[in-house]
Amino acid sequence: MKSLIQKLVETVGPSGYESAVRDVVRAEVESLADEVRVDPLGSLVARKGSKGQDGLRIMLSAHMDEIGVIATHIDENGFVRFTNIGGVRPHTLNGGRVRFTNGTRGVIFMERQDAPDRLPGLDQFYIDIGASNRQDCPVRVGDVAAFDRPFLDLGDRLVSKAMDDRISVAVQIETLRHLKNTPHELYFVFSVQEEVGLRGAQPAAYGIDPEIGISVDVTATGDIPKSPFGKMDVSLGKGPAIKIRDGRMLSDPRLVTLLIETASRAGLPYQLEVLEGGTTDAAAIQLVRAGVPSICVSIPTRYIHSPSEMVDYRDVQNAVHLLVELLSKPIKLD
């Protein structure tokens, strides 16, 4: 699974420009699913199973897109000005590198700071792709890039850009691979444009009209020095997190109970997650049409929205086991 993760995280796919990731996903799921289609906004939908007597129509969603940048201006000296795609944090940028969808690579740096005690704004950064003037610069206004950082395997811990949310893309692919039988009609959605406001999952859910929605995404942890998330009771290595709530969703309590019972029965470690800010595709899915009972299975992740996001490989594998267990059996929501 590590090589699949590496392939996924090293692919360039900022929001709105996920096609290269989609190609990787399709190559993996084509032989595993009963039907694969791409929706109008670019999400890939892989169906497995048909709705039987004890089955439900269930949508899973992991987003293919990652945060990135988009060129706004090429100045006369060939420096590229840019703005963000999704939640880019200025303090993670300086000295970092980017790779454009056309293959061009460059380094980010910032102008002299007149107020060094304040965080600089994005308009104070530029990308140097090695051009000396506007004419030589192969980047055009509107070209998009992702942060460029190689995959790092530390044993149990894996580090890369775009773990958010390729790690969950990998989890969904592996779940599909290991799921032998299911009473359900399962739609594995590899969604687009999550980082810019859950724009892909909402229409995908409308098209599928599911009876249960499950997003698979990363969540923050409280197990680092002075965590920005305070005393958050989620750590790396203690199992996938079952979301109770986040900034925009209250998980359906029946699904929380069901996932806890499923994990306990299978002897899988799990954690309970209360995330105060941020949200996932499930927040969009739950509000589609007449409403969808929804939940999120989270992969605990350090340093989210930085070029070095860290997960624990055992959490990733246990997330697959948990989902396979859950989806193999009939589900009754009373």
Partner: protein, 363 residues
């Protein structure tokens, strides 16, 4: 990236931009939520020619023009009828009204301006304390909105009521190559859409939405898109040209768009990542037909496309705008040539549009 063999090689063009119609539209008072004055002009223009005209529950005008071919692409075009402005919220003695802003208006743009109140365009003034009675400290701060009033003069209290809308009182004019008016955002789009309804490209089913409440969150476009359920959508709007020099010898890197450089094609704004297939479709058609165009700088702001593309199972969408200086102020300026080129590009590209553009996956 697509073969164009099935598309017509000869396309007709729209040679004239209806400036008289734009004048009428720009001078109408149509602040978000009370677009009826604009709607009446739209209805008067489209009713004689359209197969179907409907006013939806929120007040948008939904017009359908049938294609002349079988199984046509169903293309939604949206232009918003509403404009930013004011609402009277508190009646006081002597024809004075307290007011609030509707939509994104900079309070610094409000002071000292004449306004029109309500459908009868009752003339008023937003006054402020003159320089004689202010000190340097006071003048260095923004005047708070709650200290300003719309002044309709003696008896004015009988002419307007709380809830009435008001706009800047700016009469439309054409000055050489420049169009000036208060509501070019988005009456330029409305006039464009009327022109297309009158001259529909025969190869598509034209679904024209004259929307309400764009300036307060694209509320009209959202339900209009649900109703139309289109194959794809284009928002026609006006976008700021912040193209004056930076004045401090630095390069202006945040121009957004430039006046006179052609219609602005969107790649990304705060609400939409345009469908790259549609970006290529517009760019290729512009280049083949020799029509000037510019790429709007990716950044903030939004159009009806932000709401439309998320409706139902998703709608491939893009925006195309006329650049305007002074957006959301008392006087906006556009170049007639940019508008003509927007009409030309839109009309040319639509006539060459076929399913191939959307049969390929988004990439």
């Amino acid at each position: 990236m697509t073969e164009k063999s099935s598309a017509p090689s000869q396309v007709s063009s729209l040679d004239t931009a209806p400036v008289d119609l734009l004048e009428k539209l720009s001078n109408a008072v149509g602040v978000s939520g009370d677009e009826s004055e604009v709607r009446n002009i739209v209805l008067e223009q489209v009713k004689p020619c359209a197969e179907q005209v409907k006013i939806d529950a929120l007040g948008s005008v939904l017009v359908t023009r049938q294609a002349k071919v079988e199984n046509p692409l169903r293309v939604m075009l949206a232009a918003h009828m509403d404009e930013v402005g004011f609402m009277l919220v508190n009646k006081e003695e002597g024809g004075l009204f307290g007011f609030e802003r509707v939509g994104g208006l900079d309070v610094r743009q409000v002071v000292g301006k004449p306004v029109w109140v309500g459908k009868k365009h009752i003339p008023g003034v937003i006054g402020a304390r003159p320089i004689h009675f202010t000190n340097a400290e006071e003048r260095s701060h923004i005047i708070p909105l709650d200290t300003l009033r719309i002044d309709l003069g003696p008896g004015g209290g009988d002419l307007a009521k709380v809830g009435d809308r008001a706009t800047f009182a700016t009469n439309f004019e054409q000055v050489g190559p420049t169009l000036r008016g208060k509501a070019l955002d988005d009456r330029l789009g409305v006039a464009t859409l009327i022109e297309l309804v009158k001259n529909p490209p025969p190869n598509i089913e034209l679904l024209a939405a004259f929307t309400v409440q764009e300036e307060i969150g694209a509320r009209g476009a959202r339900v209009a898109a649900h109703a139309f359920n289109p194959d794809m959508a284009i928002a026609i709007d006006a976008t700021p040209a912040n193209d004056l020099p930076a004045w401090d010898e630095t390069e202006n890197a945040r121009y957004n768009t430039r006046l006179g450089a052609g219609p602005a094609i969107y790649i990304s704004d705060a609400g939409t990542l345009s469908d790259p297939r549609l970006v290529r479709w517009l760019v290729e058609n512009a280049e083949e037909a020799g029509i000037p165009y510019q790429i709007r700088q990716p950044g903030s702001g939004g159009t009806d496309a932000g709401a439309i593309h998320r409706q139902r199972a998703g709608v491939p969408s893009i925006s195309l705008s006329v650049p305007v200086r002074g957006a959301h102020t008392a006087i906006l300026q556009a170049r007639l040539e940019d508008w003509k080129n927007l009409l030309a590009l839109l009309y040319t590209a639509l006539q060459r549009l076929d399913r191939k553009w959307l049969e390929l996956e988004r990439r």
